[in-house]
Symmetry: C2
Subunit: 205 residues, 2 copies
Amino acid sequence: MSSAPSKTIADNSDKLVTTLERPRERIVKSAIELFRQHGIKGIGVDAIAEAAGSNKMTLYRHFGCKDDLVCECLKQVSSEKERIWVDLEDAYPGEPARQLRGWVDEAAQRIFNDLRGCDLVNAAVELKEAGHPAQKVIMDAKKAHVQHLVELCRRAGVQQYEQLAQALVLLVEGARVCGQSIGIEGPQQRLKQTCEALIDAFSKH
Amino acid sequence: MSSAPSKTIADNSDKLVTTLERPRERIVKSAIELFRQHGIKGIGVDAIAEAAGSNKMTLYRHFGCKDDLVCECLKQVSSEKERIWVDLEDAYPGEPARQLRGWVDEAAQRIFNDLRGCDLVNAAVELKEAGHPAQKVIMDAKKAHVQHLVELCRRAGVQQYEQLAQALVLLVEGARVCGQSIGIEGPQQRLKQTCEALIDAFSKH
DNA sequence: AATGTGTGTTACCGGTCAGTAACGTCCCAA
DNA sequence: TTGGGACGTTACTGACCGGTAACACACATT
């Protein structure tokens, strides 16, 4: 189906995108990064296309409008997030309890290394217009993530697995958003210990 | 000096702002509401002025630029938030433990009645430009809020008062942001019980 | 050699938005 | 009565932004 890699010439790769990928992938990748830096409403499609070493026309040939590009970015972000569940299974195969600790550890590390918060949450904050297509993407991804964690808690042998999972989600989401609004010195510093203590408490009975 | 209420004529109050207040107050009030509805970057100064029953020129006479108006709105929002501490003291005078439960109850109710999240957090998400004046306003307000809660936990006789306060902040912030991104069916439904259980656990030793 | 697809380039449109200028009006205080 | 301060109105600027049109080019397939 006519998919030739654009490795042809010594591509004058203007920006950060060292090619080998096709324009579509480069555009999505650049868009994700620029949305992260400037917010969705804070960056224009022209700047995105340029950062991808492409141009606005090509962008609009792949995505009918900016909102479609936004949705594609959010889908990609959430599918990358989904990978954590198989990574945890690989790291601690057949040990759901350890996987749960691993999930906490991962979350805590991510929060300390990046104070820009969750892409999905940030998008939800920006895109308030009723019925915006991105809202469904965000909601579905978040629900799926919660559901995965609930399932992990159940497999870890926790009786009140749903309560534990929900509390952990609140703590982690709260920690991310605190890092974003308060900065490093926020109340999210003891996130890991708090989560682990909570897991311990729920694991006893 | 020279502060006469503009009650003069049967003001053709175009919009939602039933006057009696002066333009400045009406503009701030309208801006807070419209920022809440559409986001800061999602509404223009013209629409704000009109909703306030005023006009852009008057707005710019009171606020040098949009960012200044944003800062003023955030300051007002946070000072309104501050009122909860005296309200709690009024409701349960000399009973910090009950005040703490009251704080949780208040937060839980607010989250269920309004899924639009915290104005300060939302502003922090939107205003990412390095050195934006609103960032300091947000940070100061959030830090003060956390500090107030820490102090309340201490006064409530909790030994590890700082840990408890920080965990409660994470839970509540997480709950707000979950309501915003997931909707009513999010994991924030059991927020109150979770917080109360946490307070119980911390109060025992 | 001919064709078609994906891509790049330039230019444009219409709309919105932050911010300003100039002028007029109303009302209060002196 | 008069002056001044606060406010309203209209019109404008310059920038940006989402989206489109038209044309050119490069390349792979046939």
